[in-house]
Amino acid sequence: MATKKATTMTANDGCALEARNLKKIYKRGSEEIVAVDGVSLNVEKGEFISFIGPSGSGKTTLINILGCLDNATSGSLKIGGETVFSDNCSLSESDLTKIRRRVFGYIFQKFYLVPTLTVLENVLLPFAFFQKAEASADPMEILRNLGLEKRIDHRPSELSGGEMQRVAIARALVNKPEILLADEPTGNLDTKRSGEIGEVLRSLNGRDGLTILLVTHNPNLARIAHRTIELRDGRIFG
């Protein structure tokens, strides 16, 4: 059932993501830790949302669930109008992968570039596993837009932190995702490079209409989003 849902899912206008009463509970011994506590949320297509909050507030757990990297304990999630999961239905790793490769692009605090591959090869890496026939982007164009066209033959060790993150962004964009998830993308960068990455995200959203969900501790970065959601103790605050 779930597989079918995943593979037949198509994007439609309007809501990119619709989450209802999401809960994530971890068990540590006899103790239960509620990481996400009944979050309901709509994300419109083309919207740029930032999630802020103190450490342990559940923002990363929340976007992992929204980004199909993790299952919720309960609640429901629709992507592009199609139900991904609802109560008592959790998806297998393969089903989650099928959704991920069609809908999402991810960037993380650490860049996770493959050190033995060149910039261009790192950007092409997703194609080794999956390539959207109808919507593959031109990697060279993406690299040009990110100001990396002269670095394509360089190895990650020859790049600055900001450049590495831009390569990671290019890699996330190469399969033309509908939604970009960015989890602390500037956590390893100085203020200047953080500003650059902020600009890149803003332009991806403004120019290309990409839906972006951003988790950050950086208030300056959070400010560029259309909407900022603050989380505390696994709940939306305010």
Partner: protein
Amino acid sequence: MATHKINIYQVAYKNLLRKKTRSLLTILGIGLSAWVLVSLLGFNQGYESALNKDIDNMGFQVLVTAKGCPYEAATLMLKGGTGLRYMKESIISDILKHKEVEGITPQLMAAVFDPNRGESGGINAYLGVDPATFPAMKSYLKFKQGGWFTDPNAVEAVVGYEAAELEQREVGDKLLIPEKNVELKVVGILNRSGTADDGTIFVPLRTVQKIFEKEGLITAAGIKVNKNANMTELENKLYDLPDVQVVSMAQVKTTIMSLVSTAKVMVFSIALIAILIAMLGVINTILMSVFERFQEIGIIKSMGAMPWDVFRMIWTETVILCLLGGGLGIGFSFGLSKITDVLIRRLLPYTPTGSLVIINGSLALLTLGVVVAIGLVSGVYPAWRASRVRPLESIRSEGD
């Protein structure tokens, strides 16, 4: 549309470049195992054919001796030069009547005690051979110096390579037979043949018969059998002769092969251990690299890689290591086959002359197949572990 491409195999290959030393050491380990394996398989092929060639080189396939008589010099020495038994020379013509017999050469072994040999004396053995038939039958014997006897009754000797070294004789020197006070003139010294002939002193049959007063008697007759003849049938016929024993080289071969099979079991055990060690090395290398790349593999999965994609990528890394290691080992085995030969010669109780290790293309391919199969088996666990990495695990370490 993208024109640039990258595939899983390229990614796997480049992953191995990450820790070059570790990859190289693993390849070297596999290479050494492959070397041992291909050399052993080559030895398996080579030894028997070398032994067959050696037996053909003996010139005769069946030896008929008087019952109880030692049939080669080493046994004679062990018996302290005693125990020689004699047959009448007329037996030669009886044996020649059989249709299976292509040729025959009579031999008379004689031994004397030499008080000057070693610290407390020793046995000198002389083999009387027929100048008319013996050299033709043993055509592989080549001379280092000189040649065969000048006359069937000449008081001359042809000395085997090792015997000449031991006695320190050259062509033209004299060789005294103790007790008999006869001096033989050395007319030829043989090249090393790797057979018992190396330690033998050959004297014309008539001369030995005369010196040792054994006229009309011989100790053995070497028989060359027709190529298509039935050996067993001939042996049975020969046993009908009175008071003889028949030593077939086929029996000797069986004895040697059974000796060698013990050594083979030992060497194959070593190969097995080498392969097991290489296998563990491969598992260790790949598993370590999987653990080191845990987060990276998670990211690859977040990009859309299915468990099978990751499995295939890691499996490919293993196969690349094994292919390179196997290739290296086969290269070793071709390049170092001489060293292998020497090593095996030291290990075995008896080794024939000629190439002991025969390595050819099909053997090399077989070994490569075995090594790659080992790689595929070794790679299953690390690849399975990698395929089970969840993308979340790679992100979780980043806090929140």
